[in-house]
C-alpha cells in the first residue's frame, strides 16, 4: 500500500472541497467572479486540496495554474507567466513585453470573460512579487464583472507584520467577492488511521508532527520504525533509501527552484538523468509542465540544505551557464541573477542583477527591482564610484515607489558621497534633490528643506540644465506642502521657464501644474482645467496623477469643495483604472475630509476606514483619516475618539509642518470644547496658532482662533483670517452654507445671543445628528429660560418617504438605470452595502421592483429626472 492511496480519503478534506465546488457553481450561475483565499502552514495540504479540486472539476471547466517561485528575489509576474503560457493570446503578449499590472489584468479579464466559469489558481502567494500582488489587488476590484473563480493559496504562518501580501489581504477585507478557507493539521484520530498499517506509535507521530500532513506522510514513507524528529530528517531518511543516481539527481533539481526543465537537468546532472524514473516512482519528484520538481517545497529545501557547500556552488555554476543559453526564447534574467549570486560569481551578478532589475521595473515589480539592485550593490563593492552611484540612485527610485524610505535614504546618502568623491557637481546637486523628496514623506521636513535649498544653490552655479529645472520644481512642491504659496508660484515659474527652453515636456507639465494651483490659491490663476489638459498632452499617468493631487490640494485648501469633489472623484476613477495606489490613497483621505465637512458623516467614515486599512509609510493620508474618524465620533457623541487623535498627533507633531499639524490641532480643540474642557482648547491651539499666523495660513488661523473664542480664551483679532471666521453669526452661517459646510454653519449660528437664532442652530445640529453640540446649545437655551424642542431624529427628516441622504444618492443612480455594481463603484462602497440600500429603498417606497421604486420616487419628487 502506498502513502498516496491511504492518504487520499483522509486528506481529501470533504468540507473544503464542497466549499470550492459551491464557489464555482455560484460563479457559473451568477456570472460574478469570486476569490477564495486558501491559507495554512507549509505542508498542511493546500496544493493537495487545489489539485484534487482541479482533478474532479467538470470537464468543461478550464483551470489556469500559476505558482510563485521561492527564488531569493522572485520573477516579476512569476505565476502569470505560467497562466499566459496556457492561455496564449493577449495576456501572453502583455506579460512578455513591458506591461504594468493594470495592462495584465485588463488582458486577463477580457480573456476570462470569453471563457466564463474558469478557475484561476495562484499558488504560494507568500512568495509573490509585487507585480503579481498588484495584479491580484486590481483583479479583486473588478471580480464583479469577471466570471472567474480565483483560488489563491498562501502560508499564513509566515506573514510578518510588514509582509507585502498582508497589505493586500488587508485591502481585500470587506470585498464581497472574498471567501476564506483556513486549513489546519490532521486530528490525532486521522494521524492514527494513517499510521496503523506502518505499526508506528501514533501518539508519538502526532506529537512530533503536530498533525502536519506533509510531515506525517514523509515520516511514514521513510519506512523506519523510529520517527524522525524534524521534517528535514524525515525527507533525508526517505531520500537516502533511493540509489546514488537518484540522490544525485535530487540534488540537481533542488538547486533550481521552482522546477528543472529537462534540458537544464541534462546540463546539471549529465548521465545521472537516468535516475529520473526512480526519483519519480518514489514520489519525491513529480513531473510538471516542462520538467520535474519536488512534490513539496519543504522537501526541496531539506535536500538543498544537505548538499555540501562546494558541490552546491558547482551546481549553481552549471545552472548559470545553462540558463544563459536556453534552447528557446530569451534567457530568464531573474533566474540568472539568482544562480549568479548562489554561485558567488561577481561578474555574472553585476551583469544579470541590474538587467533583471530593469526588467522588473518595466513590469511594475518595483520591490523586486529594489532587491535586484541591492544584490548588484552587494557584489559591486569594487565598482567605480560613478557606476555604483548610478545603481544606488536606481535602487533608491525603486525603494521610493515601494515605501522603503529608510533603505532609499541610505542608498541616496551613499550615492551623494560617491558623487562628491568623484567631483561630479551636477550629480551631487541632482542627488540632493532626490534626497530632499525622500526625507519629506516620513516627516523629516527640516532636513528635506535644507537638501532642496542646497540642491538649487549648487545647480545654479553650473550651466543650466534639466537637473536645475527639476530642482526648481521640487522646491516649489516643498513650498506647496508648507502652504507657502507665494514662494511656490515663484519657483514653479522658474522651473517652467527653464523647462520650456529645454523642451522637457514632463517637467513643463508638472511645473505648470504647481504654478497654476499656487496662483489659484493666491487668488489670481483661474483656469484650473488647463492643468489637466496640459498633463494629458505632455505627460503620462504620473503627470496626470500629480496634476489631480495638486488640484485637490489647492481646492481643498481654499474650501472650493464644488471643484474639489469633481477632481477627487474623477481622480479616483483614473487611479483605480491605472493602478496608481499612492495617489489613490491621498484622494481617498481627501474624500473622507470632504464628506466630513459636507456633513456626510457615514461617507466620511467609510472613506477613512479604507485609508486606515492600507498601511503605507506616507503619513499625510493616515493623519487626515484619523482626524476625520475622530471628529465624526466626537460630533456624534460616540466613544473612541482620543486614541485616534493621539495617534494623529504623534505622527503630525514631529514634522513641524503646518498642513499636517493644524487639522489635528483644530480637531483636538473641537473635541476638548465638546467635552467642556476649556483648558484643553487652550493647550490644543496655542503653539499651532502661532505657527499658522507666521505662515499667514488664513483658514487655519481662522479655525483655531474660533475655537479659542468659543472657549472664552484670549485671541489676536487682527491676525489674518479667512472670511467666514470674520462675519457675524447670521452672515457666517450663510457663507458656510454656500461653501457646503452645514456643521460649521450651525456652529456659527450657535454663537448668536438671541433665542431665535439659537433655536435654529439647535435644530440644524439635531438634523446633522450632532447631539453633543446640540446639547451645548440646548443648555444655553435653557439658561435663557427657553423651551428646548425635542428634535426629530436625523434619519426621519430626509423627506416624505423617510429616505436617508445616502439612500437618496443610491435612488438617484437607480433612477438613472444603473446596476448595483455600477452604483457601488460610483459611490465607492461595497456591493453589499448597495444591496442593502436598494432593499431598504424598495421597502420604504412600498415598491416591488426597481422600476416601481423609480416611478414612486419621481412622483414624490424625491429624485430629479434622469440627468
Amino acid at each position: 500500500m502506498t502513502t498516496s492511496s491511504i492518504s487520499s480519503e483522509i486528506l481529501e478534506r470533504e468540507p473544503e472541497q464542497r466549499a470550492l465546488v459551491d464557489a464555482l457553481d455560484l460563479v457559473r450561475r451568477t456570472g460574478h467572479g469570486s476569490l477564495v483565499l486558501v491559507a495554512g502552514e507549509a505542508g498542511v495540504g493546500k496544493t493537495t486540496l487545489l489539485r484534487q479540486f482541479a482533478t474532479n472539476r467538470p470537464a468543461t471547466t478550464r483551470v489556469l495554474w500559476g505558482s510563485c517561485d521561492p527564488l531569493f528575489t522572485p520573477r516579476p509576474f512569476g505565476p502569470l507567466l505560467d497562466v499566459a503560457d496556457a492561455l496564449g493570446g493577449e495576456l501572453a503578449d502583455v506579460v512578455t513585453t513591458s506591461a504594468t499590472a493594470h495592462d495584465a489584468v485588463a488582458a486577463l479579464s477580457r480573456q476570462l470573460r470569453d471563457q466564463p466559469g474558469s478557475v484561476l489558481v495562484l499558488e504560494d502567494l507568500h512568495w509573490a512579487d509585487e507585480a503579481t500582488l498588484d495584479m491580484l489587488r486590481l483583479l479583486a476590484r473588478r471580480l464583479e464583472t469577471v466570471p472567474v473563480l480565483v483560488l489563491a493559496s498562501y502560508r499564513d504562518d509566515q506573514l510578518h507584520r510588514d509582509h507585502p501580501l498582508r497589505l493586500v489581504l488587508g485591502e481585500l477585507t470587506g470585498n464581497p467577492a472574498l471567501r476564506r478557507l483556513g486549513l489546519t493539521g490532521l486530528s490525532r484520530e486521522a494521524v492514527g488511521q494513517l499510521a496503523r498499517p506502518y505499526h508506528v506509535d501514533a501518539d508519538e507521530l502526532f506529537a512530533k508532527t503536530s498533525g502536519n500532513p506533509f510531515f506525517v506522510l514523509e515520516a511514514l514513507a521513510g519506512g523506519d520504525a523510529a520517527i524522525p524528529d524534524t521534517v528535514r530528517d524525515a525527507v533525508l531518511a526517505r531520500a537516502s533509501r533511493l540509489g546514488d543516481q537518484a540522490r544525485t539527481l535530487l540534488d540537481a533539481v533542488a538547486v533550481v527552484p521552482p522546477f528543472a526543465e529537462v534540458w537544464l537537468l541534462e546540463s546539471l546532472a549529465g548521465e545521472v538523468i537516468e535516475g529520473i524514473d526512480a526519483a519519480l516512482t518514489s514520489g519525491m519528484l513529480v513531473a510538471t509542465g516542462g520538467g520535474v520538481g519536488f512534490r513539496h517545497e519543504l522537501a526541496r529545501l531539506a535536500v538543498e540544505e544537505a548538499i555540501p557547500p562546494h558541490r552546491r556552488v558547482a551546481l549553481h555554476r552549471l545552472a548559470l551557464a545553462a540558463l544563459g543559453h536556453p534552447p528557446a526564447g530569451p534567457p530568464d534574467l531573474a533566474r540568472l541573477a539568482h544562480h549568479a549570486e548562489a554561485a558567488r560569481d561577481t561578474a555574472a551578478v553585476l551583469e544579470y542583477a541590474p538587467a533583471a532589475a530593469a526588467r522588473a521595473e518595466a513590469l511594475g515589480a518595483h520591490r523586486e527591482a529594489a532587491a535586484q539592485y541591492a544584490r548588484a550593490l552587494l557584489f559591486g563593492a569594487a565598482l567605480p564610484p560613478a557606476e555604483r552611484a548610478d545603481l544606488l540612485e536606481r535602487r533608491a527610485d525603486a525603494c521610493f515607489i515601494t515605501d522603503q524610505y529608510d533603505a532609499g535614504i541610505a542608498a541616496l546618502e551613499e550615492a551623494l558621497a560617491a558623487r562628491r568623491a568623484t567631483g561630479d557637481r551636477l550629480g551631487e546637486g541632482d542627488v540632493l534633490r532626490q534626497l530632499s523628496n525622500f526625507l519629506w514623506c516620513p516627516g523629516r521636513v527640516g532636513e528635506s528643506a535644507e537638501a532642496a535649498r542646497l540642491s538649487v544653490e549648487l545647480l545654479e552655479s553650473l550651466p543650466q540644465g534639466r537637473e536645475l529645472a527639476l530642482a526648481y520644481h521640487h522646491l516649489a512642491s516643498i513650498c506647496v506642502r508648507a502652504s507657502q504659496w507665494q514662494a511656490a508660484a515663484a519657483w514653479a515659474r522658474a522651473a517652467l521657464g527653464l523647462a520650456e527652453r529645454l523642451r522637457e515636456p514632463t517637467i513643463i507639465s508638472r511645473a505648470f501644474t504647481v504654478a497654476t494651483i499656487s496662483e489659484f490659491v493666491l487668488g489670481s490663476g483661474d483656469d484650473l482645467d488647463e492643468v489637466l489638459g496640459k498633463a494629458q498632452r505632455l505627460g503620462g499617468p504620473g503627470e496626470i496623477a500629480h496634476a489631480v493631487d495638486q488640484l485637490v490640494e489647492a481646492t481643498m485648501a481654499t474650501h472650493r469643495y464644488d471643484l474639489a469633489a469633481r477632481y477627487i472623484e474623477d481622480g479616483l476613477a483614473y487611479c483605480n483604472d491605472h493602478g496608481l495606489e499612492l495617489t489613490r490613497l491621498y484622494l481617498l483621505s481627501y474624500r473622507s475630509r470632504l464628506a466630513l465637512d459636507q456633513g456626510r458623516w457615514t461617507d466620511a467614515t467609510e472613506a477613512a476606514e479604507l485609508v486606515l486599512g492600507i498601511r503605507r509609510t506616507s503619513i499625510s493620508p493616515r493623519i487626515q483619516a484619523l482626524v476625520v474618524l475622530a471628529l465624526v465620533r466626537a460630533r456624534r457623541g460616540d466613544p473612541g475618539r482620543w486614541p485616534l487623535l493621539d495617534e494623529a498627533w504623534r505622527l503630525a507633531e514631529p514634522t513641524g509642518e503646518l498642513t499636517r499639524i493644524a487639522p489635528v490641532a483644530a480637531a483636538r480643540a473641537e473635541i476638548a470644547w465638546l467635552d467642556g474642557d476649556l483648558d484643553g482648547v487652550d493647550r490644543a491651539t496655542e503653539a499651532t496658532l502661532e505657527l499658522a499666523v507666521n505662515r499667514g495660513a488664513e483658514w487655519h488661523v481662522g479655525a483655531l482662533t474660533r475655537w479659542r473664542l468659543r472657549a472664552g480664551l484670549d485671541v489676536d483679532a487682527d491676525a489674518p483670517m479667512a472670511k467666514p471666521y470674520l462675519l457675524e453669526p447670521d452672515a457666517a452661517c450663510e457663507l458656510w452654507l454656500d461653501l457646503g459646510q452645514p456643521y460649521e454653519a450651525a456652529l456659527a449660528l450657535a454663537e448668536a445671543e438671541d433665542e431665535k437664532t439659537l433655536l435654529q442652530a439647535y435644530e440644524q445640529l439635531q438634523r446633522l445628528g450632532a447631539s453633543p453640540a446640540a446639547t451645548i446649545v440646548g443648555n444655553r437655551l435653557r439658561e435663557r429660560g427657553s423651551a428646548v424642542p425635542r428634535g426629530p431624529r436625523a434619519s426621519t427628516l430626509a423627506n416624505a418617504a423617510n429616505v436617508t441622504a445616502r439612500e437618496l444618492e443610491v435612488l438617484q443612480l437607480l433612477a438613472e438605470g444603473r446596476r448595483n455594481a455600477e452604483i457601488a463603484s460610483t459611490l465607492v462602497v461595497s456591493r453589499r452595502t448597495v444591496d442593502h440600500h436598494v432593499a431598504t429603498i424598495l421597502r420604504k417606497l412600498g415598491a416591488r421592483t426597481r422600476g416601481e421604486a423609480t416611478a414612486e420616487a419621481l412622483r414624490l419628487g424625491i429624485v430629479g429626472q434622469t440627468r
Binding site: T602, V632, G637, P639, G640, S771, T804, R832
Partner: protein, 90 residues
C-alpha cells in the same frame, strides 16, 4: 472586540410581537449585524417600552451605526463599556 451599550429612544414605544413575525424581525436584525461583525448580546427595555439599553459587541461605533441604519433602528447614544462584577471584590 469592544463592547458597547447602545441607547435607543422609541417615542411611540417598541413593540416586537411574540410570534413568528417578531421572531423574523429579530432574525433579520441578527443577520444584518453579522455582515459588519456586530453581535447583539441582549437588551434591557424600559417599563413603558420607550427606551432600550442594548448590549453589543462590535468592531467600532461606526459598525454599530451602520447596522442600526440597515435595521431601521434609532441610535441615541453609544457608550463603550467593560464589565464590573461586584462579587469579584468579595
Amino acid at each position: 472586540m469592544p463592547r458597547y451599550i447602545v441607547e435607543r429612544d422609541f417615542p411611540t414605544g417598541l413593540h416586537i410581537p411574540v410570534d413568528p413575525s417578531g421572531a423574523a424581525i429579530c432574525t433579520t436584525v441578527v443577520k444584518n449585524n453579522t455582515e459588519e461583525n456586530v453581535t447583539w448580546v441582549h437588551s434591557y427595555v424600559s417599563e413603558d417600552k420607550s427606551k432600550t439599553f442594548c448590549l453589543y459587541d462590535g468592531p467600532s461605533p461606526e459598525a454599530i451605526r451602520k447596522v442600526a441604519q440597515r435595521n431601521d433602528l434609532p441610535v441615541d447614544r453609544i457608550t463603550q463599556v467593560t464589565v464590573l462584577d461586584p462579587y469579584f471584590y468579595s
